[in-house]
């Protein structure tokens, strides 16, 4: 048992961190929000192998590699990378598992290579497709049917300007059968896990920038990080993030086991809470500047609030956890 990232996994994270730092995501996020869907970063992520992590080898990928997916999603969250990344990863699992041989053979190699942007929806669960106007393919999983779909009207205005949410309607049936809901369930769980990892990365970045701010920002003749109230806010944020992280990696390691949905839900609920609490702390410690559109960390704060209830709310996931806890053998003594 060795429950820490190995050298290669750490290297993947470092590589992505370097790539995303160099890409300068704040400007990309603002451009993406304005409708500029340049694919330079997307291609670079593809070359680094991010999308291949969700695509099986027979379709040109290297996956599924859930731990590496968590590593990658953490870094993508840390830089608040825009676009339907989680959706494309989930789409790979959906296509792969749906017994849709033709579409899978057509799309999975392109997804793996970073040459396809995919979005998706699912009545009830994912009511609007993210960045549908930027997608090469939109999937719609509805019961035993898998459809392709198109946007049905303009994007709905949302808190995070880089999250552009479109109602969609089905166009063509790609597959039918019991494999579809099974694949949709796996895709949902993988997406929720990647979302949890993104939240942890977003939270980590917000904690780091807030700590830096608290060290330098002076009020009343001293750095505000000297005040106990600020210290304790930040210590609580760290504690929440520190204990949500192992849940995410633990869930990744239970991929394929019956515990996977439960463990994903535990991770998503904890990551949502930890990242959201960190975002609130970031806002409070920064004061008005954190509340400002043009200050980069506000992009992170908005994304955390959005992802908190994307791919299942914390309450949804907690309910799923409890439903999966087995009955214990009666009330044992302490």
């Amino acid at each position: 048992m060795r429950f820490v990232l190995d050298t290669e996994q750490r290297l993947l994270g470092d590589t992505l961190h370097g790539l995303l730092t160099k890409a300068g995501t704040p400007a990309l996020i603002r451009r993406w929000a304005a409708g500029d869907h340049d694919r330079t970063l997307w291609s670079a992520l593809g070359e680094t192998g991010v999308f291949a992590l969700a695509v099986p080898e027979r379709h040109g990928g290297a996956g599924p590699l859930p731990v590496e997916l968590v590593v990658a999603a953490h870094e993508l969250g840390r830089h608040a990378a825009p676009g339907p990344i989680v959706e494309t990863l989930a789409a790979a699992a959906l296509l792969d598992g749906s017994a849709a041989a033709g579409p899978a053979a057509e799309w999975l190699p392109r997804i793996a290579a970073g040459q396809a942007v995919v979005s998706l929806g699912s009545p009830g669960r994912i009511r609007r497709a993210l960045d549908a106007d930027a997608a090469d393919l939109i999937l719609l999983a509805d019961g035993e049917h898998l459809f392709s779909a198109v946007p049905e009207g303009p994007a709905v205005r949302a808190l995070d300007p880089a999250r552009r949410l479109f109602p969609v309607r089905q166009v063509e049936r790609l597959a039918t059968g019991p494999a579809v809901p099974r694949a949709a369930a796996t895709a949902y769980d993988l997406a929720a896990l990647a979302c949890a990892a993104q939240l942890l990365g977003l939270g980590r970045a917000l904690l780091d920038v807030t700590v830096k701010y608290a060290r330098t920002r002076r009020q009343f003749g001293r750095p505000i990080g000297e005040f106990q109230a600020v210290k304790h806010h930040l210590a609580n944020a760290l504690t929440g993030l520190e204990f949500a992280r192992p849940l995410a990696y633990g869930a990744a390691l239970s991929f394929g086991s019956p515990d996977f949905p439960r463990d994903v839900s535990a991770a998503k609920a904890a990551a949502s809470d930890a990242a959201y609490a960190t975002a609130r702390t970031a806002l409070q410690v920064h004061g008005a500047i954190g509340y400002t559109d043009e200050y980069d960390p506000s992009l992170w704060i908005r994304k955390v609030r959005a992802l908190r209830s994307a791919w299942g709310t914390p309450a949804d996931h907690r309910a799923r956890v409890l439903a999966a806890v087995p009955e214990v053998r009666g009330e044992s003594p302490r």
Partner: protein
């Protein structure tokens, strides 16, 4: 001890009736947009025409001399009716209260009637990049000039300034080392020579405040409030009011809590959220009753303003977080609740952060020792 509101019921009925007939059927656009600002300014004029824009002011300035209780009742009816947000709030709740305490008769006569009428909308200009919570660290200057003063420097987080007409704030007229001393309270037009207004978006992208760059802006002596160099003392009387009931009246929360209960019921009354919905409703009532207690007392319990500010600002966040949790996956979509949520997040920060308010409560009300200062 009683809660007999019958003497103010006729006033309540009049206000309610007028609002029922006059509140726009469709909500106005957000007041943090140009079109919305204009619409809200027009609404202020409608209010003023009915002498309902500043009910608690003396009649000569456009009010009705309403009692504090009548004012609370007005606010209850105003928000229960879903009437528009008050674009004149900075002027009415901050500047006007300072003028009543420190203004000259000339200033009162010149400034208040157009404020009451919605003709002049005021922005506040307190903060600077290096002086947010620590207002005594202000650096923008007021320098003596012939017949007045010249303002130089930068102000920030100036709420309403993107579209307002005039602003008020503190400027350093003495050496920076003096901190609280050597500040002067001035009013100035936002379209004056040397003023550059740069709108700044808040968390939802709307320009809820602005940066002001001041380059030798001339202000005549008659627009100084109180004595030059005494601005801190003058401003503190405003700050005291700002932190009390006036900044966010109980009526706002009573209406918001009723809407929250309705939202919760409309979404199936999920028992998971029942305690939080009930708490918001209970706390809104607690604030209402606390307000009645406050106006019943002759003495002004100083740091009570801090207790109130911590309470309503956290209630506001909790109430809106609960609403977003009711909305679930739709929480991120633009709408009244989301805008209210974004607005609420500023509450624990502005007008003295809640951390500072808690220090004040601990030191001034509970008598705990001040921290060691450097």
């Amino acid at each position: 001890m009683d809660l007999d509101l019958s003497p103010v019921e006729p006033f309540r009925a009049e206000v309610r009736d007028w609002l029922r007939r006059n509140v726009p059927a469709t909500p106005l656009p957000s007041l943090e947009t140009e079109a919305g600002f204009a619409a809200h300014r027009a609404w202020e004029r409608t209010l003023a025409a009915a002498r309902l824009s500043v009910v608690s002011w003396p009649e000569e300035y456009g009010g009705r001399g309403a009692s504090p209780l009548e004012w609370l009742v007005f606010e209850e009816e105003y928000y229960a009716a879903g009437a528009p947000g008050r674009v004149s709030q900075n002027g009415i709740n901050l500047l006007a209260l300072t003028l009543f305490a420190h203004g000259t008769p000339g200033q009162l006569g010149r400034v208040l009637p157009p404020m009451a009428a919605g003709e002049v909308i005021w922005a506040q200009a307190w903060s600077e990049p290096g002086a947010g919570s620590d207002l005594a660290a202000l650096r923008a200057t007021a320098t003596r000039a012939d017949g007045g003063w010249r303002l130089n420097g930068q102000k920030t987080w100036s709420s309403r300034a993107a579209f307002a007409d005039r602003a008020f704030g503190l400027f350093r007229s003495g050496p920076a080392a003096e901190r609280h001393r050597g500040l002067t309270y001035l009013m100035f037009p936002l379209d004056a020579d040397g003023v550059t207004v740069r709108p700044v978006g808040r968390l939802d992208g709307r320009p809820a405040f602005a940066e002001l760059f001041l380059d030798d802006v001339f202000v005549p002596d008659r627009d100084v409030i109180g004595e030059p160099g005494q601005g801190w003392t003058v401003a503190m009387s405003t700050a005291g009011n700002e932190r009390g009931l006036t900044l966010r009246s109980p009526g706002r929360f009573l209406a918001a809590a009723d809407r929250l209960v309705a939202l919760w019921r409309a979404h199936g009354a999920d028992p998971l959220l029942r305690d939080r919905v009930a708490d918001a409703w209970i706390k809104a009532r607690a604030y209402r009753l606390k307000g009645f207690e406050t106006i019943s007392r002759a003495d002004d319990a100083g740091a009570e303003a801090s207790v109130n500010k911590v309470f309503w600002s956290e209630l506001d966040v909790e109430l809106h977080e609960t609403a977003l949790d009711i909305l679930g996956a739709d929480a991120e979509l633009d709408g009244d609740w989301l805008e209210g949520y974004v607005f609420s997040l500023a509450g624990p920060i502005y007008a003295g952060t809640n951390e500072i308010q808690r220090n004040l409560i601990a030191e001034r009300v509970l008598g705990l020792p001040r921290e060691a200062r450097r």
